[in-house]
């Protein structure tokens, strides 16, 4: 079989080289290339696109979505989906903001609480999915309703303002880049390492890829699913803090369609909706790519009315390119 020769060739190459090649040939490589292409095309048409401020803004505005997309990737890799994330971000941001305006409350508490409540909501979802075996799409559909309605019930939609200046984490900068960007980078790297190098992270792929096999090799899918949904809750919690601390006021309603943006990021990032494959690095790159598309289209004066259609087409094209790339790879394997 050709397999033997391929493997022999691979074995002779040094490890770093192999890794490099895998990086370029993989989904991450394809996304990076698309991003580069976009930057070149838009940058040539309108050099202001390349201004440091604009690049920094694109990254800043990708951050909270990317962080949530990390959690979503884990959920999708485990073979599930969570469409309540948008509502969760709304709820957690409101909780965080409400706490910050309580007199005498230390600021760190209002940052921390969403990171605790998020996993708690995730645990409820996870319990329903893992132990009571209700499909995740149903649970999260229900959860979305509950959170959305509950939020309005609780707040009446009153905006929160007058947060103390030190609360506004996301408005800080460090070495010329906004703080959320560091969160995005750090969490992407940490999550990538966790999912690759820890038993608990690796188990997510196992459960998503072959549940029966996972069970037989001593992995408890239930525990893994609980963990995945709680991890997702944590990421959403962090995302909501970035979301809440960005502004002078907090809109205490659920931003509509946010869950679709997050799911799209994860899926375009190469996370297979069938579970078992994908990386968070891809998801983060996809988030940045999608944001850059949204931003770049304004720079090159795409007709405002057709903007959405152009974006939709670009998403479709990205997905198709990836699909063809995968198919070519599969064909190569078959020889």
């Amino acid at each position: 079989m050709t397999a033997t020769t391929v493997s022999a060739a691979r074995q002779s190459a040094p490890g770093w080289f192999k890794n490099l090649r895998m990086l370029v040939s993989g989904q991450e490589g394809a996304l990076t290339l698309s991003l580069a292409l976009l930057v070149i095309v838009v940058g040539t048409a309108n050099p202001r696109f390349l201004a440091q401020q604009n690049i920094s803004d694109i990254l800043l505005n990708s951050s909270y979505i990317a962080v949530a997309a990390i959690g979503m990737s884990a959920v999708i890799i485990s073979g599930n989906i969570d469409i309540s994330v948008g509502a969760m971000i709304g709820v957690l941001a409101t909780i965080s903001g409400q706490l910050s305006i309580v007199p005498g409350m230390p600021v760190w508490i209002s940052w921390l609480v969403p990171l605790i409540v998020g996993p708690m909501i995730g645990a409820v979802t996870g319990f329903l999915v893992a132990y009571l075996r209700i499909p995740a799409i149903v649970v999260s559909l229900g959860m979305m309703s509950i959170l959305k309605g509950g939020l309005i019930l609780a707040t009446g939609g009153v905006w929160i303002y007058n947060m103390p200046p030190e609360y506004k984490l996301a408005q800080q900068s460090f070495l010329g880049l906004p703080v959320p960007v560091y969160f995005m980078l750090a969490l992407t790297i940490l999550a990538a390492l966790w999912m690759r190098y820890s038993p608990s992270g690796r188990a997510i792929y196992a459960v998503g890829g072959n549940k029966e096999a996972a069970l037989l090799s001593g992995i408890s899918p239930r525990v893994v699913l609980m963990r995945v949904f709680m991890f997702n809750g944590l990421m959403v919690g962090i995302s909501s803090v970035l979301f809440a601390t960005q502004f002078s006021s907090i809109q205490s309603t659920v931003p509509s369609g946010l869950e679709l943006t997050i799911i799209t990021s994860a899926v375009v990032g190469g996370v297979s909706i069938l579970g078992g494959t994908g990386t968070v690095i891809g998801a983060t790159l996809a988030t940045i790519l999608l944001r850059a598309i949204g931003n770049g289209m304004i720079f090159i004066n795409v007709s405002a009315y057709w903007l959405q259609a152009v974006q939709g087409t670009l998403i479709l094209v990205t997905v198709l390119i990836d699909l063809l790339r995968r198919r070519r790879q599969a064909a190569q394997i078959r020889g």
């Binding site: 201004a51 803004d57 939609g157 303002y161 007058n162 002078s248 309603t253 369609g257 944001r291």
Partner: protein, 401 residues
């Protein structure tokens, strides 16, 4: 084979229909985000470049002369002086603006003592859901419905059904077709708001400045109406204003923030001002300008990084005081245009009471509205709240909604 032919036909059909549609309406100039309804720009202020040209007498809408054109409920019980139960179905619940109108309604109900009013509606500004809500309340059997329409045409059938069931219907904030309700409390006419906004913008950036618009969505009726009127008014009075572009931001503060940042990056110093068209878009846009350090230098804003006058970006828009308070207080935003929504809700309940009591009839020319005094009937079946209100640093502390 037949499958291929069939699919080919389908493709061609789709292409044809999509291609045919926008064929018209291209010749008539219309700013991005504006609707296609007729406009009636108000007169230019003194000293505006266009003021001289507008010498011939304007065709003022003959408001008072117009016949009453509202609808009437069928067989509504006579409840004059008795307790009535009202439901208020705003465009959506959970935003500051409609919280404020709702507050005003409660105040009026308390003053009157014989009105019970609850606010309920969809969580998104969606006509479909709003219609469903109204259907439910017709079935539940309230005495009166107060509404702010997500779509003037879309809401009309269900309101007509309410009238047929003997329920009184009064609109506020966003109108329906006239015959689908009895009265509409008009907070400020579109052309009035448009004038106030353009005038405020010109005051900051001058009659030859350039600006972009951040709207919530192109399909939001009020906002597209305003953009239309603003365009018409600016064409008439400030023809040298440079209109850059309109972007959408959904009802999402974060998106408004992002889109404004993109505009700032795209135009740099070539953009002098930004309109925030909704109570969500405005604070988002203001935040983007503030965080970019581009607030106009202001005497009161010692803590704000003040760039030179050249690169500063003015922000003008409609919003509620609470949402804009931080920006007005630090001087980043000089003025916020809005009527007082508390008063709007307040007036709507008084109008409804007057209709039920029989003191407001098609023949009336004015109506008594508690602390607001007498309000004028205009345009046949509308009641005018008054001119728009401008919040500034001096008075914003007095309002909490």
């Amino acid at each position: 084979m037949s499958k291929k032919v069939f699919s080919a036909i389908l493709m061609v059909a789709l292409a044809l229909s999509v291609a045919f549609v926008p064929a018209v309406a291209q010749d008539e100039v219309r700013w991005v985000g504006a609707d296609d309804l007729p406009v009636s720009p108000l007169e230019c202020p003194e000293g505006a470049p266009g003021a001289a040209m507008a010498e011939e007498p304007m065709e003022e809408p003959e408001a008072a002369a117009l016949e009453y054109n509202g609808g009437q409920p069928v067989g509504a019980p006579d409840l004059a002086g008795q307790e009535i139960v009202l439901v208020d179905v705003p465009k959506l619940i959970g935003i500051g603006y409609f919280n404020a109108t709702s507050l005003g309604m409660q105040q009026a109900a308390e003053e009157l003592g014989n009105v019970k009013v609850t606010t309920d509606g969809p969580t998104q500004g969606d006509i479909v859901q709003q219609v469903a809500f109204i259907e439910q309340y017709i079935t539940q059997g309230v005495n009166g419905i107060l509404f702010a329409a997500n779509d003037p045409v879309g809401i009309s059938p269900v309101l007509r059904r309410a009238l047929e069931s003997g329920i009184h219907v009064v609109g506020y904030d966003a109108n329906s077709e006239p015959d689908a309700r009895e009265w509409f409390v008009n907070q400020a006419e579109f052309n009035g708001i448009a004038k106030a906004k353009i005038d405020s913008m010109v005051a900051e950036i001058g009659p030859e400045g350039s600006f972009a618009i951040v709207t919530s969505s192109f399909t939001a009726p009020n906002q597209s109406r305003w953009i239309s009127e603003m365009w018409a008014y600016a064409q008439k009075c400030y023809p040298d204003l440079k209109w850059l572009e309109t972007v959408e931001s959904a009802e999402d503060q974060n998106l408004a923030f992002q889109q404004t940042q993109t505009l700032l990056n795209k135009y740099g110093p070539d953009m002098d001002g930004v309109f925030g068209m909704s109570s969500v878009a405005f604070p988002g846009a203001a935040d983007a300008v503030a965080q970019a350090g581009l607030c106009s230098p202001d005497d009161a804003a010692a803590d704000v990084a003040a760039p030179d006058e050249e690169s500063a970006v003015a922000i003008v828009g409609l919003s509620t005081p609470n949402q804009m308070r931080p920006f007005v207080e630090n001087g980043c935003v000089e003025s916020v245009v809005l009527w007082n929504p508390v008063d709007l809700g307040y007036a709507a309940v008084y109008v409804m009471r007057a209709v039920v009591d029989g003191t407001l009839t098609p023949e009336s020319t004015e109506v008594e509205a508690g602390r607001l005094g007498k309000l004028q009937v205009v345009n046949g079946s509308e009641i005018l709240l008054g001119p728009p209100f401008v919040y500034t640093q001096d008075n914003i502390a007095d309002f909490d909604f």
